[in-house]
Symmetry: C2
DNA sequence: CTGAAAGCGCTAACAC
DNA sequence: GTGTTAGCGCTTTCAG
């Protein structure tokens, strides 16, 4: 009866062919250093045993070299990353950089599930790019602990040991609010996603600035408050939803307008939600922008079609630059910080308040 | 002067703390099996040395276990994958499956560059999903060689040793052409992307069926020919472009209509190109669908907004199912084949020919 | 051109 | 609790 067959390896092939493991290794990795006869025997035996070639992990270990893989930590819910056009544009830029340098991209599925939480520790990568997570995200901490070259994107930098790229979200939001105030708006509200990072849904204005979690959402709220404060306004009702979706945006708009029918402008801090909010506002029978101005943030491709006034930033470039920072990282060099330009793109969803 | 400092490892930490490597290992992996005193000493020393924890590759080797990582082979140009909404929808579905199972996703950048061509061999993964590559793609062959659980998507299956999911592209295209013929169209043209896989740009009708490369594009062309043949029509001018972009679609439409102004319908076999072609047709002053019917394939979200008649398939589900097939793969089990439903979605870009 | 042997850094049994 | 000792599967000098 058939003996227990060991999983094929360099050694099992070597022994059957009657050569050393070194020769088998060479047959696969440096064909020119092996005679054709031996090589073909090796390959034949390998095929017979179903041996697919050197094990990547073992290879990695003994070579001790680079993995040519970049780890990408995305928002908690991986699928959502593909739902948000802003994230997709970012990925596209990052992929372009990686592809050019022959780097693979490992998408780390950062579930809050603690079991899988060491996906970061187990990742066989040369470094990381972290996209749009909160400064207090536990995965981010683990990444920092690994002390590999790391680039933070749309993430407040908890340390200056890493490179950083992103827009000045606070300034962008401030400029947006200034435009609205300039147009005559005095009662402005905001809709945001995941301010607390938790699954919270509801009003969120009762948070002090210091209490704002370290996230892009917090920065954007700060920016709005900056502008309002400068104009002597201190009322900013905020409605928060956990997910950045059309439905959540619509839902939040209804909740906010039910609470505060007097608002003349609503700043939605993510474009996807903003587009949903825009539709919801029309559903309420509001004339846009006569009765209500609605604005977004990010300027995703769909924003133009929707006529959405929004804060524009170079999404794809952001990805490309993140890749370039990562690739050009030199050991011991100082950390670099690239602030991307931002500007308010005025479209048909905004205008002076009617009254 | 400072002696050469070895890269920190379990051993370097162990020796300085005066414990065994096993204890250090346990401190990191099974805290409960180590006394608090020892553990904190270990952690302190590790921090001092800048030791980030067990090396993933070595860990992987000795555990001999799973990597919890799925390798995804995409079309040659990775960034393009994020440009095509059909691919993004697929990724979203796949990511949802992966996330649920705590699997990471390694995007393999399959450059034609032969240097990087063993990215497949070097990938530390438990298996592969292959999306939309040609049957004769060399990377695909390498993946098959690794004999890991593999799922093919939108890729003709060169072997039945792997699982497969996709629509019946040939049938979908045939049904589309039947609808057009039914409406009275007799002179139909086609626009396709990368039929040859090469960087070819130009007419492509002079290829026998047998010669059609094994790709979804080939299947779709086959489908059109099936329907035309059944109706006694044998003329199918084809214009090919290497990339699936709006610009390429527009360009191809102009080229095709310059050659064959008599056409009453053009089947563009990818939605992104189709939307570009639609715009180009209008630019030529053609009335849609009076002067010309233009159709697409895939039914990406933007198709509805563009009023594009197209062949619809469940894009996100395709990704989800690919993930499920992969996750439910049992050694030695028979390969499975999931054919997705397809149906023609008639919108405003198609109609009976005017004349 | 081929072989022998020393690790790469870690984990898993077992002992103590 | 903690230490010892084998490997995991491969690459790499260095001889022959």
């Amino acid at each position: 009866m058939p003996r227990h067959v060991a999983r094929p390896s360099l050694a099992t092939v070597a022994v059957r062919v009657g050569v050393s493991t070194a020769t088998v290794s060479n047959s696969f990795n440096r064909p020119e250093k092996v005679s054709d006869t031996v090589r073909s025997k090796v390959l034949a035996e390998a095929a017979r045993q179903g041996y697919a070639g050197p094990d990547p992990a073992a290879r990695q270990l003994s070579r001790g070299g680079r993995t040519d893989t970049l780890g990408l930590l995305l928002t908690e819910e991986l699928p959502l990353a593909f739902t948000d056009p802003a994230a997709v544009a970012f990925l596209q830029g990052l992929a372009a950089s990686c592809q050019g340098a022959g780097q693979n991209l490992l998408l780390i599925s950062a579930t809050s599930n603690s079991d899988a939480s060491d996906a970061v520790r187990a990742a066989v990568v040369d470094g990381f790019v972290v996209y749009a997570v909160r400064a207090d995200d536990p995965h981010l901490q683990r990444i920092l602990d690994r002390r590999l070259p790391t680039v933070l994107v749309d993430t407040p930098a908890p340390t200056d040991a890493v490179d950083w790229v992103g827009p000045d979200d606070r300034a962008g939001a401030r400029e947006l609010a200034e435009v609205l105030i300039e147009q005559g708006h005095r009662r402005i509200g905001a809709i945001t996603a995941g301010l607390r990072g938790a699954r919270y849904s509801g009003p969120a204005e009762h948070r002090s600035s210091a209490d704002l979690p370290a996230s892009i959402h917090g920065s954007r709220i700060q920016g709005l408050r900056d502008a309002l404060g400068a104009a002597g306004l201190d009322d900013l009702p905020i409605e928060e939803r956990p997910e950045n979706t059309h439905a959540a945006g619509a839902d939040a708009l209804h909740a906010l307008m039910d609470r505060r029918p007097d608002l003349t402008a609503v700043c939605v801090l993510m474009d996807v939600m903003a587009i949903g909010a825009l539709a919801a506002a029309r559903d309420r029978g509001l004339d846009i922008p006569g009765d209500l101005t609605v604005t977004g943030y990010d300027d995703i491709p769909q924003a133009a079609a929707a006529g959405l006034t929004t804060v524009s930033q170079p999404l794809t470039d952001k990805g490309r630059i993140a890749g370039e920072l990562y690739l050009s990282r030199r050991a011991g060099g100082p950390s670099r910080r690239r602030v991307l330009p931002t500007h308010v793109k005025v479209r048909s969803s905004s205008g002076p308040p009617r009254c």
